[in-house]
């Protein structure tokens, strides 16, 4: 129960942070990448502010904590190699981000806000996410696949 409530609160604070930061307004995302127009550096301050909190907490936790409060162990990415999938997948994501002005978090929280554009984008995004994961599951069940499906789902974040 507390795990579920905690996760809900995490999503809630994350979503409010996105709105306060202005990241639920696609014009501000487009503005960050519009070097030849009305430039808006806000996105850098959002990422900077988030990393400023997260980096020291992460460093402290992985060095001194045996385990997280509600789970038996930390579930953290382990891969270190740079592969083509990482670069190409991210490149595909960037095209959609620049085209729609939404990345996954802002899109979903804007659906909650009743935005028609976010709903159209978000529905297509879930088709992409779900379709890809179902494709992976199908391929794994055919080939025997990785035993640790959870690790496969959470490669980096």
């Amino acid at each position: 129960m507390k795990v579920k409530v905690g996760a809900f609160l995490g999503g809630l604070v994350f979503g409010i942070g996105l709105a306060v930061a202005g990241m639920t307004q696609p014009a501000k995302i487009i503005g960050f990448f519009d070097f030849f127009g009305n430039y808006d550096p806000s996105l850098a301050f959002v990422m900077g502010g988030a990393i400023l909190v997260y980096a020291p907490v992460y460093r402290w936790a992985v060095r001194t904590w045996q385990r997280p409060i509600w789970a038996p162990a930390f579930s953290l990415p382990t891969r270190k190699d740079i592969d083509a999938r990482l670069v190409m997948g991210s490149a595909i994501f960037g095209v959609g981000w620049g085209l729609g002005g939404y990345c996954p978090g802002p899109a979903l929280t804007s659906v909650g806000a009743g935005s028609q554009e976010a709903f159209t984008f978000g529905a297509a995004m879930l088709v992409g996410v779900g379709g890809y994961q179902l494709f992976v599951r199908l391929r794994e069940s055919r080939t025997g696949g990785p035993a640790d499906a959870q690790a496969a789902a959470m490669i980096d974040g």
Partner: protein
Amino acid sequence: MESFTPIASSIGGLLIGIAAAGLLLFHGRIAGISGIAGGVFRRVPGDTSWRVMFLLGLLAAGFGWSYFFPQDYLVGISRSTPALVIAGLTVGIGTQIGGGCTSGHGVCGIGRLSKRSTVATISFMATAALTVFGANEVFGGAV
């Protein structure tokens, strides 16, 4: 730079960092939205409910916050339905292939000093910039 919001964006960023730090300390998880959403479809026993609850929290934040501050959800750019559908599909598929999005790679990954996430962030920032250049300079801002 008339729309630049350094103070509000920094405060919002701190809130995002606090939420991500909380998910790490309490759940031991990376706060990557695309990874959390992708995992829902993998249906690993015992690994679904926290994901669904986090995503519901995200939706609830939009629902509640927009009641008081509807202007925070204005789109502000001209995008056709086909463009939004293509954008949504590429974001959905791209984040699953690339293993993360702005939160998982851009915030948590760079915060972990991960080389993979830094490379991923450079990659999606570069193609986002090229796409915005194309949309604004070739199509005049309306796609």
